[in-house]
C-alpha cells in the first residue's frame, strides 16, 4: 500500500522529465533549411519585402506608440500577465541582426527561435506558415536592410513561474500549428490570391476566428471548418464575422470592402479599435488588385451555420420620436444629449465623417463589447491619404455605468436595430478591463497640424 505514492511520484517525475526532453526536441522537427541565397542589398527585393511586411502587418505588434518601428515592446495582455512583442530590427545585440535567412524563416513560419525554443502563439506563425520561401526571402532582405537597427532589449514576460516555461509550447505547436500548405479553393487566380492573403500574411483569423481552450484558432482555413473567420472577441473588441450571414458581411458589397480596407471607412461605417490599426498600418498600403482579391474572396464564404442571412424587417419609429422630442426612455434623453449631434436623429450618421448606428452590426451584435468599449474610451478612425481628415469618437468615461448601459441598450434597439439587452455589469466589466489596457495610436487624436497636413500630401 505504502509503495503507491512513491511509485506515482516517480512516474510523475519521470513523465515530466520525458515530456521536458521531448519538448526540447520537438521544435527542431519543425525547422527547415532552405537553399535560397538572399541578396539583402537588392533594392527590388527590399521593396518587395517591404510590401509583404505590410500585408503581414508586422509593424502593428512589433512597435509601441512612442517607440521606434519594429523595436518591439508592445504588451499583449493575457489573464496571467503580459507578454511583450520582440525587437525585430536588424540590431545585432537586441534584435534579429544575427539571424540567417533560415533563422528568420523558421521563426516567422514555424514559430521556432534561433535558440530552437518555441515562440508564443501570439505570433501568428500558424497563418504565416503558408507563405512561400521566396516571399520570406524578400521580407528578410527588407528587415536586414530596409529597417533601422534599434538597440532595445526585449522585455521579459510577466507570466508567473512554471507558466513561463517555453518547452510546453512545443507541444502546443505540435498540436495546433501543424505543417500545412496553401490549398487554393478556386481555380480563379484572383480568388486564390485573395484567399492566400486572408489566410496567410493577413492572418485575419488571429482576431476573427474563435479560439479553443488551447488558445488555438479553431480553423486556419475555410477548408478546416466554417468556424473560420466566423467572429470572435479579442482585447475587448468584437472582431465581426467575415462570413455570409447578416451579422457578417452579407450586407457588404465587394466595393465597400475595398473602400473600407483602403480608406478605413465607407459611406455608413468606419474602422475602429484594432481594425483601425490594421487599416492604418497595413491594408491602406496594399494594391487595389490585392484589396479586390481579398474582398472578393471574403464574399465567397458561406454563412456561419445556424446564423441568419437576413433578419426580420423592423419599422423605424425612433427617428420620428427624436424629431418630435418624444423621449420615451432615459436612453432616449441620453442619446439626444450626447449622441444625436453626430449620429443624427435617424441614426445614419454623416457619410465618411460620423458612422451610422442604425444597421451597424458593431452596435447591435449579440456581443456588445465593441460598442461598450468605444463608448467608454472613444477612438479614432484610420488616418489615410484618401480622406482629408480622420475623425474621432470622444470618450464618455464620465457617464455613470447605469447610463452607459441605458444609452447602449437604446441604440442597440432603436431604428431598425434589434439587439439583446446588456446590463450594468457588462459596463462595469468593460470599464475595469479598459483601466488596464494600453493605449494605441487610434486611441489618440489625429495630428492636424499644418506641417503634418503638408507632409501627408493630402489633396
Amino acid at each position: 500500500m505504502k509503495k503507491w505514492p512513491a511509485i506515482i511520484g516517480a512516474l510523475g517525475v519521470g513523465g515530466l522529465a520525458l515530456a521536458f526532453t521531448l519538448g526540447q526536441v520537438l521544435p527542431s522537427l519543425r525547422t527547415s533549411n532552405s537553399v535560397i541565397q538572399v541578396d539583402i542589398n537588392d533594392p527590388e527585393l527590399i521593396k518587395k519585402g517591404e510590401y509583404i511586411a505590410r500585408t503581414a502587418d508586422c509593424v502593428a505588434c512589433h512597435s509601441t506608440l512612442e517607440g521606434e518601428p519594429y523595436a518591439g515592446g508592445l504588451p499583449m495582455l493575457t489573464p496571467l500577465g503580459a507578454i511583450y512583442s520582440t525587437n525585430i530590427t536588424p540590431d545585432k545585440d537586441t534584435g534579429i541582426g544575427n539571424y540567417s535567412f533560415d533563422d528568420f524563416n523558421n521563426a516567422t513560419k514555424h514559430g521556432v527561435r534561433k535558440d530552437n525554443s518555441a515562440l508564443y502563439p501570439a505570433m501568428p506563425y500558424p497563418s504565416y506558415q503558408i507563405m512561400p520561401d521566396e516571399d520570406m526571402a524578400a521580407m528578410y532582405a527588407f528587415f536586414m536592410s530596409g529597417v533601422k537597427a534599434v538597440k532595445q532589449p526585449n522585455r521579459a514576460s510577466e507570466l508567473p513561474p512554471v507558466l513561463n516555461w517555453r518547452w510546453p509550447l512545443a507541444y502546443w505547436q505540435a498540436l495546433f500549428a501543424p505543417e500545412r500548405e496553401f490549398i487554393p479553393a478556386s481555380d480563379d487566380a484572383m480568388l486564390a490570391r485573395g484567399q492566400y492573403l486572408i489566410e496567410g500574411p493577413g492572418h485575419c483569423g488571429s482576431c476573427h476566428t474563435e479560439r479553443g481552450i488551447g488558445f488555438q484558432e479553431l480553423a486556419l482555413s475555410n477548408a478546416d471548418s466554417e468556424e473560420f473567420l466566423s467572429g470572435a472577441v479579442i482585447d475587448g473588441w468584437r472582431a465581426k464575422s467575415l462570413r455570409g450571414e447578416h451579422d457578417g458581411l452579407a450586407t457588404w458589397s465587394t466595393a465597400e470592402l475595398v473602400d473600407f480596407f483602403k480608406t478605413g471607412r465607407t459611406e455608413t461605417t468606419a474602422a475602429f479599435g484594432a481594425m483601425a490599426e490594421v487599416v492604418e498600418h497595413s491594408t491602406q498600403y496594399m494594391t487595389e488588385g490585392d484589396l479586390y482579391a481579398m474582398s472578393a474572396y471574403l464574399k465567397t464564404l458561406s454563412p456561419k451555420p445556424g446564423e441568419a442571412v437576413t433578419i426580420a424587417a423592423k419599422e423605424d419609429i425612433t427617428t420620428q420620436k427624436l424629431l418630435d422630442g418624444v423621449y420615451d426612455s432615459r436612453g432616449a434623453i441620453l442619446y439626444a444629449e450626447y449622441c444625436q449631434i453626430c449620429h443624427r436623429a435617424d441614426g445614419k450618421g454623416v457619410p465618411r465623417i460620423f458612422p451610422a448606428l442604425d444597421g451597424n452590426s458593431a452596435v447591435y451584435s449579440r456581443d456588445a463589447d465593441s460598442v461598450l468599449q468605444i463608448t467608454l474610451s472613444g477612438g479614432r478612425m484610420p488616418d489615410t491619404p484618401h480622406d482629408r481628415m480622420a475623425f474621432t469618437m470622444p470618450e464618455f468615461i464620465n457617464l455613470s455605468d447605469a447610463d452607459v448601459a441605458e444609452v447602449v441598450n437604446y441604440i442597440r434597439n432603436s431604428w431598425t436595430n434589434q439587439g439583446s439587452e446588456i446590463n450594468v455589469d457588462d459596463v462595469v466589466q468593460m470599464r475595469h478591463f479598459l483601466s488596464k489596457k494600453p493605449k494605441t495610436a487610434t486611441d489618440l487624436p489625429p495630428d492636424l497640424s499644418i506641417t503634418a497636413a503638408a507632409e501627408g500630401a493630402k489633396p
Binding site: L175, I213, G325, R330, D346, E395, A402, D425, V428, P445
Partner: protein
C-alpha cells in the same frame, strides 16, 4: 464526432494533450481567484465649476454641478425645458419663419451651451439684463436671444411672450441650477486669442481646406442631411450668418474656432473638439472665412452708438 473544439490533428494523442491541459487548468483557477474583488458600478462623474460672487471673482463660495438632461424630468416644467432645449438644438427646422440662415443656436453654443469657451448658456440667465456696448443700452435675456435671431440666424425676432421664447429661457434658467443672481459660475464664455496678430487670408484659405472644408464644404456651403436639416452650418454665402453677427468678426471667430473647432477630432470633451490651431492659425482662417460674402445686417446703423467700435467690426 471528432473533437471539434480542440480541432486536433490526426497525429495527436491524448498523451500530448495532458500537459497543456494541466497548464490551462492552473491558469483558469488562478484567473478565477484573481477576479474575486469584482468592481462596483460607478456614478456619473459630473463636471463641476467654482461659484464666485459677481463682485469678487476670487471669493470661492461654492460649487456648480453641470446637470445632465435626465435631471430635467424632476422639474415641474420639464416639458417646457425639453422644448427649449430642442429649439436651441434644431432652431432652423422648428422655427423656419424666424431663421433665415441655415443655422441653429447650438451651431455656435456647442454641446447645448454646456461647455466653457464654447459660448455656454451657463451664466446667461443671471448675466442679463445688462448694458451692452454694441447696442449702447440695457438688453435683457429675451432681447439678447432676439439679437441672435436677427444677426447670427439672419432672421426675425420672436414674440417675447411666445411659448418658444419662454421655453428657451426656461432651458437657460434650468441650466443656471438656481445659482443666485449675486453669484456666477467661474467659467469663461470665450477663450483668448492674441488680437495683435494680423490675419493672413491666403494662409487661412490653406488651413480652411485642410481642417474645415471636409464638413463646412469647399465653398463654405455647409452640409445638410437627407431631410434637409443642418448638419454643419454654412460659413459664408446667402445661408450663413450676416455681418452683424459676432462670428463675422475676425478675433471673435478666432477665439471660437481655436477652442471649439474642428469637432470630432479629440478623444476628450463632449464634442471631441478644438485645441488644434495656434493663435495665428485661428486668426488666419477666421480672417479668411469671415470676410467671404455674406448677408448684410440692416440694423447695423444703430450699433455702437457711443463709439468704442472694436477693430474687427465689419461696419
Amino acid at each position: 464526432m471528432n473533437n471539434s473544439l480542440l480541432n486536433l490533428p490526426d497525429a495527436a494523442s491524448t498523451r500530448f494533450l495532458r500537459l497543456p491541459l494541466t497548464v490551462i487548468t492552473v491558469a483558469v483557477c488562478a484567473f478565477a481567484l484573481s477576479g474575486c474583488d469584482s468592481p462596483k458600478p460607478i456614478e456619473r462623474n459630473a463636471t463641476q465649476f467654482d461659484l464666485v460672487t459677481t463682485d469678487d471673482a476670487n471669493q470661492d463660495i461654492g460649487t456648480y454641478v453641470l446637470p445632465q438632461d435626465t435631471s430635467i424630468l424632476k422639474e415641474p416644467n420639464a416639458e417646457q425645458i425639453f422644448y427649449g432645449k430642442r429649439l436651441l438644438n434644431e432652431t432652423k427646422r422648428l422655427l423656419p419663419d424666424h431663421v433665415g440662415a441655415a443655422m441653429n443656436c447650438n451651431s455656435c453654443h456647442i454641446s447645448q451651451g454646456k461647455i466653457p469657451l464654447g459660448d455656454p448658456y451657463i451664466n446667461s440667465y443671471n448675466f442679463y439684463p445688462r448694458v451692452m456696448p454694441r447696442s449702447g443700452k440695457e438688453v435683457d435675456l429675451i432681447g439678447r436671444i432676439n439679437g441672435c435671431f436677427m444677426r447670427s440666424m439672419n432672421g426675425k425676432p420672436l414674440d417675447r411672450e411666445s411659448a418658444e421664447m419662454q421655453a428657451m429661457v426656461a432651458y437657460m434658467k434650468w441650466l443656471a441650477q438656481n445659482t443666485p443672481k449675486s453669484q456666477k459660475v467661474a467659467i469663461n464664455n470665450a477663450g483668448e486669442v492674441d488680437t495683435s496678430l494680423i490675419g493672413d487670408p491666403v494662409r487661412g484659405e490653406v488651413i480652411y481646406h485642410v481642417q474645415c472644408a471636409t464638413c463646412h464644404g469647399d465653398n463654405g456651403e455647409g452640409m445638410k442631411d437627407s431631410r434637409g436639416d443642418i448638419v454643419f452650418p454654412p460659413l459664408w454665402g446667402d445661408e450663413s450668418f450676416n455681418i452683424g453677427a459676432g462670428m463675422a468678426r475676425t478675433y471673435k471667430a478666432a477665439a471660437f474656432v481655436k477652442y471649439n473647432m474642428p469637432m470630432g477630432i479629440q478623444t476628450k470633451g463632449l464634442w471631441g473638439h478644438g485645441n488644434v490651431l495656434s493663435d495665428q492659425d485661428a486668426v488666419d482662417v477666421s480672417e479668411f472665412f469671415t470676410h467671404k460674402p455674406r448677408p448684410d445686417f440692416p440694423g447695423k446703423v444703430n450699433d455702437w452708438p457711443t463709439g468704442n467700435k472694436p477693430k474687427d467690426a465689419r461696419y
